[in-house]
Amino acid sequence: MSTKEEPLDLIRFHLDEFVLIKLRGAREIKGKLQGYDSHCNMVLSEAEEYIYNDSNDDVETKKTEMVFVRGDSVILISPI
């Protein structure tokens, strides 16, 4: 089937699956991948954002039902 695998394919595999995204500014966001493009712009549903402060034990958590994440903040995308 798919002959050559490209990096973005890995993201494609996880459409409609939960992924963890590491973002600039000591943030992470976990959510179900609903859409993405080649700039790593993404839309996540049922998402939860984690903001890490200086003291690592202090993690702020925010929930959001549907969010667009601009790709230029994205550091990495990982399946959960």
């Binding site: 089937m1 798919s2 394919d9 595999f13 996880h14 459409l15 409609d16 399946p79």
Partner: protein, 788 residues
């Protein structure tokens, strides 16, 4: 007025009123304050007045210009002239050129005369008059700007393309310094802004009047000039005429429509003057010109003086000057880089830019929005679905079954259909109660007759896939493939990709090749059956654990033929316990007797997609195929475990009720029937004594009337339907508690509680769907024999 928009009156104006003149000049030179320029004389070598006198270019230039080649001519001339010493090229060139041109067109002499008069009278205008004039001028003020460039355009000709196009967008040639154009009103008089010496072709023969080589329009002005050289009016006329001529001839290089003169001409004097030339050159008069004259005329009536238009130049208010300067600056800014790119370059850039936003397939680029609009029409512009002209969206919708409604609706549809099928089966069964009775009583022996063999036969007939599976199994023993999650996701996305390809092909073609799609499913690639280690389970089955696979099932099955669907169904039946919804979908495996939420979600997804697809598929299956499927199910799975899962129970119900319906059609042979009953017996045996377990035990899962247990009652009804009296008795016995439980719960619902009354009804409906099979009916208080 001179040709080229140059106003020969300027120098004389300077003579009369040096300050004013200087003012405008300064503008031209962008801040060179000549008023206070102590070196003015040095710069110009002499007073302005002298320039005029000494600088009779008509004579002097005749020799100079004639002597030198055109491009070099102007500078050469300049240096020859008295003005030349210590003067920059540009400075020298501009005025020189001015003279040169005048000379060229034979308007030189008259200029001198006119200038003093005009400038003298100009200053007397009142503010209102100026305003009036300005308004009058304004329309024509634009043309002048254009016009100003035109000389440049002319000079550009040697370098650039045909003149008409370039009129005013052309930058000056590298060598030619262009003072910024003066304000339109003023520039007529401004020698300073005059274009540099003609480097181009047309002005080449600078030998004053005798220039027969000039393009056609020019001779006429020349003539005009020569005819009445002494009259200022003539001079003024000369320019417009030339302009007219040129514009008429248009494409000839010297296209210098000097519209800038119009304001000036608007003056009464100018107008009067015009009439003379009119007589002479009526045929040359341009309509537009006349209009403008008239326009200005009207305004001019207010002012008694001639040449009212000129005064503004001298009485320019600061604002006006500023305005003019601004305009001028703007023009020069625009001019600065104009012509850097030739049309080809521009075309290239334009195409490049367009390519950024335009694609060959705008609909595809905007796919989401286009389809979204169709699926979710806005309230304000509700348009019938059919009337949309968006073919892609339509095709997508048709393929994807997107329009079946929201998720919840779809779930309802699936459930309803199950219920309908069961009810239909029940009805059919009720219509032949006597027959059944009769058969039961009279043909007891027959029923048990011929068990055992046929189902196996059927199995062989129906399940080529199963055969292949068996063959595969042998192979697999040697080489066991195991799939990681990523592999499965890869395969799954591959399926989706193929599906989308096929879908898009169907938009264009009628014959579509679905073999790649089928291959991508990998149904036959790797056989497995329930109980295999998870990574080794057939990838298609593993894919069914993902929501996105379930979502595409309806779309997928559209492109599969009956054979393929049967193969897939067979594979599923032999792998039921490998499905997450079943493997993890039974409350019995959990300590708290509750199915975890994520599995419950998956179960819901199955109800919405898989169950519906299966039900459609089963409709196409033949009786013996259904038997075969059931046999495979029983052989490969722990039926009593499967029955404790919602999806497992639904699958059983689907197969059983379909079989009952087919039997109800009455076309089934006795052998088939006997096969069926032996199959049923086998099934019943595996369920017996555990039937009550199909009810989820957790109190929270107990159906309070919200249809949560519909599927259980549907199964009970179906199971009873296929069973003999003995079977039915066993079933009733096992679920007796549930029956009374439902009745009690129905009774608990207060009849006054209208909002919840439907729940009572639901509960009793469920119960009765089952009881009816045995000829019974229940209300919340008691169970009775079914009347009628």
């Amino acid at each position: 007025m001179s040709f080229f928009g140059f106003d020969p009156t300027a120098p004389p104006a300077g003579r009369n009123n040096n300050k004013k003149e200087v003012y405008e000049f300064q503008e031209t030179y962008e801040g060179l304050d000549e008023a206070d320029d102590a070196f003015n004389d040095e710069t110009f070598g002499t007073s302005t007045g002298e320039i005029r006198k000494d600088f009779d270019f008509g004579a002097g230039a005749g020799a100079g210009a004639g002597a030198s080649a055109p491009p070099a001519a102007a500078p050469a001339t300049a240096s020859t002239g008295s003005v030349s010493q210590g003067v920059s090229y540009a400075q020298a060139a501009a005025p020189t050129d001015d003279e040169f041109m005048q000379d060229l067109w034979g308007t030189n002499t008259p200029i001198k005369h006119e200038q003093p008069i005009a400038s003298g009278e100009r200053k007397i205008l009142s503010l209102e008059e100026i305003e009036a004039q300005l308004t009058a001028i304004d329309p024509s003020a634009q043309p002048p700007q254009q016009q100003q460039q035109q000389p440049q355009g002319q000079f550009m000709q040697p370098y650039m393309m045909p003149p008409p196009q370039f009129g005013y967008m052309m930058p000056p040639p590298p060598g030619a310094y262009m003072p910024p154009p003066p304000p339109p009103q003023a520039y007529g008089q401004m020698p300073g802004w005059m274009p540099p010496p003609p480097m181009g072709v047309p002005p080449q023969p600078p030998v004053g009047q005798p220039v027969p080589q000039q393009s056609q329009p020019q001779p006429i002005p020349n003539t005009a000039g020569s005819v009445q050289p002494a009259e200022e009016s003539q001079v003024q006329e000369g320019a417009p005429e030339t302009a007219v001529d040129n514009s008429v001839v248009s494409s000839s290089p010297p296209k210098k429509v000097d519209l800038s003169h119009f304001p000036v001409l608007g003056s009464k004097e100018a107008h009067d003057a015009h009439h003379q030339p009119h007589r002479q050159h009526q045929q040359q008069q341009q309509q537009q010109q006349q209009q403008q004259h008239q326009q200005q005329h009207q305004h001019n009536h207010i002012a008694p003086l001639q040449s009212q238009v000129h005064p503004p130049q001298h009485t320019l208010t600061p604002e006006e000057q500023e305005r003019a300067a601004r305009r001028q600056e703007k023009v020069s800014r625009i001019m600065k880089y104009s012509g850097i790119m030739n049309p080809k370059d521009k075309d290239f850039v334009t195409r490049f830019q367009l390519s950024q936003i335009v694609t060959e397939d705008p609909y595809n680029e905007d796919f989401y929005a286009q389809v979204y609009k169709v699926i979710h029409p806005k309230n304000d512009n509700v348009q019938p679905m059919g009337s949309t002209n968006n073919s892609i969206a339509q095709a997508y919708l048709e393929q994807s079954g997107h329009r079946l409604g929201g998720r919840y609706k779809r779930a309802d549809v699936a459930l309803q259909r199950m219920q309908q099928q069961v009810q239909k089966a029940v009805t059919v069964a009720k219509e032949r109660p006597k027959l059944t009775q009769y058969a039961k009583e009279g043909a007891l022996g027959k029923i048990s007759f011929g068990t055992g063999k046929k189902p196996r036969q059927q199995l062989e007939i129906i399940s080529k896939a199963a055969e292949r599976e068996r063959a595969g199994e042998v192979k697999q023993d040697k080489e066991i493939t195991s799939y990681s999650k990523k592999d499965i996701l890869n395969i799954l996305e591959g399926i989706i990709t193929e599906l989308m390809n096929v879908e898009s092909e169907t938009r264009a073609l009628h014959d579509i090749d679905t073999s790649k799609l089928w291959d991508s499913l990998k149904v036959l690639e790797h056989a497995s059956c329930s109980g295999d280690p998870e990574p080794e389970v057939n990838p298609f089955i593993q894919c069914l654990n993902y929501n996105k696979m379930l979502k595409i099932l309806p779309r997928l099955f559209k492109f599969l033929n009956r054979e393929q669907i049967l193969t897939i169904t067979t594979l599923i039946m032999s792998n039921l316990e490998n499905l997450a919804v079943i493997k993890h979908g039974s409350y019995t495996t959990y300590a708290n007797k509750r199915v975890p939420e994520n599995i419950a979600h998956l179960v819901d997804s199955y109800s919405m997609t898989f169950s519906k697809v299966l039900m459609n598929a089963v409709l196409d299956f033949k009786f013996n195929e259904i038997i075969g499927l059931l046999v495979i199910l029983i052989e490969h799975n722990n039926v009593s475990f499967v029955s404790t899962t919602k999806i497992g129970l639904s699958i059983l119900t689907t197969l059983l009720s379909r079989a009952e319906l087919i039997i109800g059609e009455g076309t089934i042979s006795a052998t088939d029937l006997s096969e069926w009953s032996s199959c049923y017996d086998e099934l019943f045996t595996s369920l017996e004594s555990r039937i009550a377990a199909i009810f989820p035990p957790h109190p929270e899962d107990v159906d309070d009337g919200s249809s949560r247990e519909n599927y259980v009652w549907q199964f009970l009804a179906t199971l009873s339907l296929g069973g003999k009296l003995s079977h039915q008795r066993i079933i009733v016995d096992e679920v007796r508690d549930e029956i009374f439980g439902v009745m009690a719960r129905a009774k608990d619902i207060d009849p006054a509680d209208v909002a919840n009354l439907y729940k009572k009804q639901n509960l009793l409906n469920n119960l009765n769907m089952y009881l009816v099979v045995m000829g019974l009916v229940a209300d919340e208080n008691e169970i009775k024999e079914l009347q009628s």
